[in-house]
């Protein structure tokens, strides 16, 4: 009858792990509204940090083309910075990147305004840039 403990122990272990995960995830959301580092160009326009990796297929086949299309259709002053997490792991750690692709929209002052975990379409990113202060063409 000691076997009756098995699901209880397992569910407790998984619940604990899920709780830790939730805390970590909420930690990334807490970045919204804060300046992690001054990678943007203050006084100018919003920017996008695009976290990617060599093994991330969807980054290369979907996210990068979406960003290129976006860049082609907006003001050239918008900076889209591609960051390979293997090359710049410290920056990924500071932005608490846990999944690829991740795109982070910063306002002109470098403040995080939006975080997208997973593929984000060009339309979504464009809306977020506008929200972050990008001038809208008349």
């Amino acid at each position: 009858m000691i076997l009756l403990l098995a699901p209880l122990i397992a569910i407790a272990a998984v619940a604990g792990a899920a709780l830790l995960l939730r805390v970590q995830r909420s930690g990334q959301r807490e970045l919204v509204g804060s300046v992690v580092e001054h990678v943007a160009r203050p006084g100018r326009l919003p920017s996008i940090l695009y976290f990617t990796g060599e093994a991330c297929t969807i980054c290369h086949t979907a996210q990068r083309p979406a960003l290129r299309t976006l860049a082609a259709g907006i003001d050239s002053g918008i900076e889209i910075r591609e960051i390979d997490i293997a090359v710049e792991p410290e920056l990924a750690r500071r932005y608490r990147v846990m999944s690829l692709p991740t795109t982070i929209v910063l306002d002109a002052g470098g403040e995080v305004t939006h975080i997208n975990v997973g593929f984000a379409s060009g339309e979504v990113l464009r809306r977020q840039l506008v929200d972050a202060g990008m001038p809208v063409a008349a």
Binding site: A6, A10, T61, A62, R93, V97
Partner: protein
Amino acid sequence: MATVPFDRSVLKVNQAILMTVIVAGYAVGLVWHPIAWVLPVLAVMMLAAVATPSCNLPRILYLRWLKPLRLVQPRVVQEDPAPHRFAQLVGGVFLAAASVFVVTGLLLVAWVLAWIVAALAFLNFAFNICVGCIMYAQLVRIGLLPLSHEPAR
């Protein structure tokens, strides 16, 4: 725009099989301990699925019967399949460890490990929370996993 079509229904079928077999096996195992030998069978199924698509039983089941009979609808998304394969590998390793404990007679430990796999499968099945995928991202980030191009399938 080029895309990577990835049918999540294969994963869902795999998770449903895991949950059903583990929970049913555990229930039977309360009165008939030899049923614990189903855990090595599941371990082989999971590890074989990671090794090669042609040995992926849930995928075969889905493609040959469940999808043609419209019992399960396709859920094709643009996604990198590598994290999901890693998650399957983690599940397979847990079940392989459970199998070792079955062999050594430590059934409580074996079923705890199996229930962890079932619980993680449930999280992914019901809420799309893939703990193995998050582990994968973390391991790539800190450089413990080699970076390699993963073909979509």
